[in-house]
Subunit: 320 residues, 2 copies
Amino acid sequence: MTDRAKIVEVLKDEKRFNLISHMLPDGDSIGSLLAMGEALKLAGKEVEMYTPDYIPRRYMFLVGAEDVSQELPADSADITAVVLDCSDPERLGSLKNAVMNSRQIINIDHHITNHNFGNLNLVDPDAAATGEIVFHLLQDTGITINKSIAEALYVAIASDTGSFKFDNTMPGTHRVVASLLDYSLNPGTLSQKIFDEHPLSFYILLKEALSSLELDLRHGIALMTLSRDIRERSGAKRDDLEGIVNYTRNIEGIELGILFYVEGKNEVKVGFRSKNLDVSVLAGKLNGGGHARAAGCRLYGNYESVKEKVLREAYAMLRQ
Amino acid sequence: MTDRAKIVEVLKDEKRFNLISHMLPDGDSIGSLLAMGEALKLAGKEVEMYTPDYIPRRYMFLVGAEDVSQELPADSADITAVVLDCSDPERLGSLKNAVMNSRQIINIDHHITNHNFGNLNLVDPDAAATGEIVFHLLQDTGITINKSIAEALYVAIASDTGSFKFDNTMPGTHRVVASLLDYSLNPGTLSQKIFDEHPLSFYILLKEALSSLELDLRHGIALMTLSRDIRERSGAKRDDLEGIVNYTRNIEGIELGILFYVEGKNEVKVGFRSKNLDVSVLAGKLNGGGHARAAGCRLYGNYESVKEKVLREAYAMLRQ
C-alpha cells in the first residue's frame, strides 16, 4: 500500500486532526490549510488549524482564516498532525517541537527539497502547488468540496504559479483550476485580493526605487537602491521589498536587474532578477543563493564597496 | 445547418483565404490571426494575413508575425475573407472597404456587441477570447495544431483574460489552455513577453505618476496627474498610459482611482478604475463610457476646472 493510499485511509478513519502549515505563511500554505480543514470538518471530523506566524491580511477574507491559531496545545501528541506545504520541520518555527512529538505525522508537500519527515509522506514535486495535491487527495477520500474550499484551493494554486504565469504551471494545473471554477468562483475578485492590491507604503517605496534607477543599456543591467531609512519612512514592511526588485528585470532590453537594499552602514542585501541568465550562479559567487531567475545575497561592507564587488561579478558573468 | 457547421465546410473546401483582424491589434486579435493562418497553411491552403495597423513589438516573436501585411490588394474580392475578433466593420480601419467588398465574409468574434456583418457569423460572447473560439473551430475542422499555433492561441487567451485573472475566465477557458500547454509551451517565457516587460519610458512615466499621487483615504479616492509634456519627455507612447491608471485603484483602501492626463491647455483625458463601484455610470455622467471597473471620458477646459467637475460627480456618486 502506498503512502498516498494509507493517507486516504487515515483521513477517512481518524476522528481528530491538527493541521499545520509553515512559518511566514504564503497563499499556497494558507489555502491548502483552510481547504483541508473545512473539507475534513464537512466530513464530520474534529479539526484544529495552526500556523507559527499570523496570516497576512490579504488572505483573511478566506473562510476559516479567523479560526487559525498560533499555539499548539502541549497535550496534542495523540492527535494526527497533517503538515502542509512544509519542506523541513525547521520551517514549523515555534510549532516544531509540538508537531514533531505527534504520534502520527502526515507530510503533504510539493517542494523537491522535502525531508520526508512524516510517518506518511505525500510529496509530489511535479505539482505546481500543495493546493493541487490537496485537491486530488480530497477527491480520493470522496469528500465533496464546496465553494469556499474551491476558493481556498484557487488561492493556493494561483499564488504559487503567479496567476499561472510561472513555468511550474502544467496542463494538469489548469485542469484542476477548471474544476475549481465550476464552483462559480470570481477569478476577478480573488485575483485583485491576492495579487494586485498593495498598501500605500508599497507605492511610496516604488516611487523612491524608480527615482534611484541606474541603467547600463549596452550590457542590459538595471540597478535600483533603497535604504532602510527610506523603507521605514515609507511605512513599508520588509515583505514589500520583494515586489520592487521585479521592476528592474521587467524593463525592455534589460537582462539583469539588481536591487541594493542598504540595511545599515556595513550591510547590504542584494536581490537579482534575470530574463535568461542563471542568477543563482551569480548569487552563489557572492555567498548567496536562490533560483535561476530570482536570487540574492547579503554582503558586509559599505554600499560603494558592495556595489563595486557585485558589479565586478555581474560583468564577469555577462562577458562569458 | 448552423453557421458554425457551414464555416467548418468552407474552411475545409475553399483553397484561398484572406485573414484580417482589427485596428490597434491586441494579443487576442494577433494570436487568433496567426493561429488560424498557420493552421490553414498546414492544411494546404493559400493564406494571406492582414491588420490595418502594425503589430506591437511585444508580439513580434510569434511565428508568422513578420508575414502580416497592412494593405489588402484591390483584387481580393474573390477570396474568402475571415475577419477575427472584430465587432464592427469600422474597426477594420483602412481595410474596411476592401474586406467588405469580398464575395464571402466569415465573421469570428466573442464581443457581445458584434454587428454580425459576415455572410457567415460565429459570435460567442461566452468565450473569454476569440482564440478560444478558433481553438474549437480548428478541432472541428480536423486540423491538427502544432506548438507555434498553440503559442499563438495561448497569447490570445492569456491576453484577453489578463493571465486568467479577469471574470471572463471560465472553466472552459482553463480546459482549452490545458490542451495548449500539452504542446510543451513555456508559460513563464510567454508571460514575461506579453505582460511583464515594458519599455524604460513606461517606468519613467510611472515614477512621475506616483510623484503626483493625491489621496482621500476617508472616501477611498486616489488621483494621479500626468501632462502630455511629461509623457513626451519620457518617450512613452500613448499606449503606455493604459497601464498607469491601474496603479491608482490597486492601493489598499482605495475604491476609486482616477488618472488625469492633460492633453493640452483645454483638454483633459480622464481614466477611472474601481474595485466595486460602477465607473461606467460616473464616466457616462461626464459624456464618457466604458466598463463597470474601467471607464473614461474626455473633457474640455483647463485642468483645475476639469478636476473640480470630475471630483464633484465622484463624491456625489460615493455618497449614494
